[in-house]
């Protein structure tokens, strides 16, 4: 091989690297090990993590503990899916293309939208892209953001939009209900606002029941209405397309994707008006036919002229590698649950969370839920005589992960709780017992 390559030694293959920049010593990284040895050591390290089933997890805030059906893991473990790449050669990639097309279709139904891309990195970056898109489409630069937006999303939107010269302003929330303050929104809306972004349910878990009014106020001022959603909540709560939203984003993680200490997750991005699809970031898969057989179906990447590999500096976004495998997980998850199963899931989640909130309210010194607004699976709990940070740490010590501090939004004495279908009555009792001792 060396002879054909035209060199005498492997080192000669690197003779084009000038002396001044060639590394003349070994890398300072420990030598490699056998598969067995590495597996044993890395798994031993990972086992120091405190996770279910040994530990109970009631944390939410943008990703949430849900059950991942075995069939979903089986599908995403198919090497044909996970060891392939972007379906540039459509004829040998129909499988991934169809799976992504089905993801887009299922998400359009779930969200009530007309076009969904085949994934972005996560909710926060999708929200960042949505606000940027609103700036492009409207040519305006002020952005109104519910003050009850998750802090992670708010910070990422800031990073994404600052270079465009966009200015974020928050719209206050009602201290009693936890919902966006309609009067404050009215006051702040004007003809220089690119978009209103709010979450539903919001960061406090509260359902924004005046979402339609907010969307219509924003659109009345010529701004886009952008909503961030938890897809599981759409089992019982109206879809964004039904209350006047132009761009819907969200976190697809609860649709069959593990928490994985932060990722990979799934950024959902969809638009209501098909005309807006041309300004969207990310990949879109379309249904077409083989050139020689108009009766057969075939799938291909479409509207690629929006993307970086064609448009370069004029592209809608720089995104290339996305979260395709996670979109396949979401498509298979939604197919498994189906119309009936998905509804039952929503009913279980809302029942469990309401049961838990009520149970915690019986504890002395605890207000649960803190806000009066209706909630789905998360709710804020406040403590009369304890700091949220301390309660959070004390609970963790007892093997209960719950009450992540909500910080400045509602003071330093409240935490966020998330209850889903994975929690039993016994789990909730254990949480209540631990909280009683922690406050």
């Amino acid at each position: 091989m060396l002879r054909k390559a035209g060199v005498a030694t492997l080192d000669d293959l690197f003779s084009d690297i000038p002396d001044g920049v060639r590394l003349n010593r070994p890398l300072r990284i420990p030598e490699g090990g056998s598969e067995y040895q590495v597996r044993r050591d890395v798994q031993a390290r990972l086992s120091q993590n405190k996770t279910p089933p040994g530990t109970l997890c009631f944390l939410g805030g943008g990703v949430w503990p849900h059950y991942v059906p075995a069939a979903v893991e089986s599908i995403t473990s198919r090497q044909e899916f996970y060891t392939s790449y972007t379906p540039y050669q459509a004829e040998v990639s129909q499988g991934m293309l169809q799976a992504l097309f089905e993801y887009q279709s299922l998400m359009c139904d779930l969200l009530g939208m007309e076009a969904c891309n085949s994934s972005l990195y996560d909710w926060a970056s999708a929200a960042g892209e949505a606000v940027r898109m609103a700036g492009r489409v409207t040519g305006r630069s002020r952005v109104l953001l519910g003050a009850n937006t998750g802090p992670q999303r708010r910070a990422v939107i800031q990073t994404y939009t600052e270079p465009m010269g966009m200015r974020l302003e928050t719209v206050a929330f009602d201290r009693a209900t936890g919902q966006v303050d309609q009067d404050d929104l009215k006051r702040k809306l004007s003809d220089d606002v690119a978009c209103l972004y709010f979450e539903n349910p919001n960061y406090f878990g509260v359902i924004e029941d005046e979402a339609a009014d907010m969307a219509s106020m924003a659109r009345g001022a010529g701004a886009l209405a952008v909503a961030g959603v938890d897809p599981i909540s759409l089992s019982l709560i109206k879809e964004p397309g039904a209350y006047g939203i132009d761009i819907a984003v969200g976190e697809g993680q609860p649709l069959g994707i593990p928490l994985n200490y932060g990722g990979p997750h799934l950024g959902i991005f969809a638009v209501k008006d098909i005309k807006l699809a041309r300004s969207m970031p990310g990949r879109l898969i379309g249904l077409t036919t083989p050139a020689a057989d108009q009766q057969k179906k075939a799938f291909a990447m479409v509207l690629q002229a929006r993307e970086q590999h064609i448009r370069r500096e004029g592209a809608m976004s720089n995104v290339c590698t996305n979260q395709s495998l996670m979109a396949v997980a979401a498509a298979s998850y939604l197919s498994l649950m189906g119309r009936e199963g998905f509804r039952r899931l929503g009913e279980t989640v809302i029942a469990n969370s309401h049961f838990a909130a009520k149970r915690l309210s019986r504890i002395d010194g605890v207000v649960s839920p803190h806000f009066k607004g209706s909630y789905f699976k998360e709710f804020v709990v406040s403590y009369k005589n304890a700091k949220a940070d301390a309660v959070f740490r004390r609970l963790a010590k007892k093997g209960v992960l719950a009450g992540s501090p909500t910080r400045m939004e509602v003071g330093s004495q409240s935490g966020l709780y998330c209850v889903t279908e994975v929690h039993t009555k016994e789990d909730i009792e254990r949480l209540a017992g631990a909280l009683e001792e922690a406050v």
């Binding site: 091989m1 084009d16 899916f81 790449y85 990722g263 291909a300 370069r312």
Partner: protein
């Protein structure tokens, strides 16, 4: 040539398989709680209540069959050679998948207090140290989710650093014409004007040209080494000096780092900021388009500008630091693509220092060997045929007819192998970009070269016929797919 026929299931859309009443997974529900609520949906305010969701109804087996059939219509690294240039489609060790499927990884919530996730944090810490050593950087942030996000982080860091130190007058970024599309797109997202640097006839960027283009407007330059033509940029150090001399900073696009492990480091070349694609160089699977991970590293002077969080080690153990003084902020909601980071760590542990160096030696050997095995009359080298290649080689398909590179690509698919990247870089006529990686054995490289040579001979004597014909579907009508009248983006 081997005979190959890809599965062709003519599989309906999943919605077409639906029959009312079927459920594929029994939802967990504790009767002790559920029985207390007669109609839980009534807890949603009436104005926001949803009557039903239109989802398909199938049994578990039906869902599995559907997606398994789709998977059989998808070509992958574990099925055959996949030399998609610039994508580094190498083998992904199975043991990484097994480790990443541990409950202690999958179940960890990103908001858990650090004392409950010391295991994964210690892995992040060691990974961060290893990536810094491989690139000659001071510190890495592991938070960015893909290469393009790493690029965006990098140019934002340059922007903020310059604003802090001399105001915002510098609004241009230099990008060579051979760069990936993500480079100019990332620079534009960060608010910069892109100034194109033309490469010379030998495919490389000259420092003298960079000196001409660099000015008091220059914030920096994004530079890919080796470049997308597979060539090491011989004047890289002088290019860095030229940009630094004009007051700008240097960004290293690590997309092609698979050629340089243990051989050269961007830090020693003069770069200030670096990103790596873990799904390329560090063998994490490409997932049909993602997820990946694109950590970003910096020299000491730019460390404070890294995207948060970064992992730290202190008296109380490992933790995530969100408080970097001058950080550009976060680009992702939670931590990073942690399960991808874990796989890259496993890869580094398996190979170690000398194994990583071997990876690059073998990847470069394979690229040069395959390139030299091609008929130079059919596939002339794009640039400098006397120069060594690094991770990949770019050739043109000889002949004037437009579209021949695509025809060659489709003919390759018919043989049970994946096509090279086509029509990129944009500066090469009828381009084929071939990156075999270190994973392919000699006989596979021979087979691939023979296939390309044979396809060209058939193309020339008119015997190639219609291609592809052995794939799930024949040539897909991509024009129709994007036409406003026939465009269908959901069902």
């Amino acid at each position: 040539m081997k005979k190959f026929t890809q599965a062709s299931w003519d599989e309906p859309l999943i919605k077409e398989l639906s029959r009312p009443g079927r459920v594929g997974n029994e939802v967990p529900s504790d009767p002790a709680v559920r029985s207390k609520f007669k109609d839980p949906a009534a807890l949603v305010p009436e104005s926001m209540r949803r009557a039903s969701v239109n989802l398909p109804e199938l049994s578990e087996l039906q869902v599995l069959r559907h997606f398994n059939r789709l998977s059989q219509m998808n070509f992958s690294v574990e099925l055959g050679m996949y030399p998609l240039g610039s994508c580094t489609m190498k083998y992904n060790p199975k043991v990484s998948e097994m480790i990443a499927s541990s409950d202690s990884m999958k179940g960890a919530h990103p908001l858990q207090p650090p004392e409950t996730v010391q295991g994964i944090l210690s892995i992040f810490y060691d990974l961060e140290r290893a990536l810094s050593e491989v690139t000659g950087m001071h510190r890495f942030s592991l938070s960015t989710a893909a290469g393009a996000q790493g690029e965006l982080a990098g140019v934002l860091m340059i922007r903020k650093y310059l604003r802090d130190h001399e105001g915002g007058a510098r609004d241009e970024i230099l990008v060579p014409d051979s760069a990936h599309g993500t480079n100019p797109a990332s620079a534009a997202m960060a608010g910069f004007r892109v100034v194109k640097v033309p490469s010379e006839p030998d495919g490389q960027v000259r420092a003298s040209k960079v000196k001409e283009l660099a000015s008091e407007k220059t914030a920096g330059m994004m530079f890919t080494v080796p470049n997308t033509l597979g060539l090491f940029e011989g004047e890289v150090k002088e290019v860095c000096d030229a940009v630094h001399g004009a007051g700008g900073l240097m960004y290293y696009d690590g997309a092609n780092m698979n050629a340089l492990l243990g051989r050269a480091r961007p830090g020693d070349m003069g770069f200030d900021v670096v990103h790596l694609n873990l799904h390329k160089t560090f063998a994490t699977p490409h997932g049909g388009g993602g997820p990946g991970a694109g950590p970003v590293g910096a020299t000491r002077k730019l460390t404070d500008y890294l995207p948060v969080p970064v992992v730290t080690k202190g008296k109380g153990g490992y933790s995530l630091d969100y408080g970097l003084r001058r950080s550009i902020g976060p680009l992702k909601g939670f931590v990073g693509n942690s399960a991808v980071l874990l796989r890259a760590y496993v890869y580094i542990r398996l190979l170690g220092a000398s194994g990583l160096k071997d990876v690059s030696s073998m990847a470069v050997l394979a690229a040069n060997y395959l390139w030299k095995s091609l008929d130079p009359e059919a596939y002339p080298a794009s640039h400098g045929k006397e120069l060594l290649r690094k991770h990949e080689a770019v050739v043109s398909v000889k002949g004037e007819l437009p579209g021949t590179a695509m025809t060659v690509a489709k003919a390759v698919l018919d043989l049970g192998m994946h096509a090279p990247t086509v029509y990129f870089p944009l500066i090469v006529h009828e381009a084929l970009m071939i990156e075999p990686t270190e994973s392919e054995p000699e006989e596979m490289l021979d087979e691939y070269a023979a296939a390309l040579n044979d396809i060209y001979a058939k193309l020339k004597d008119g015997s190639l016929g219609v291609v592809p014909r052995n794939t799930s579907v024949g040539r897909v009508d991509e024009v129709k797919a994007s036409h406003p009248l026939t465009l269908k983006v959901h069902w």
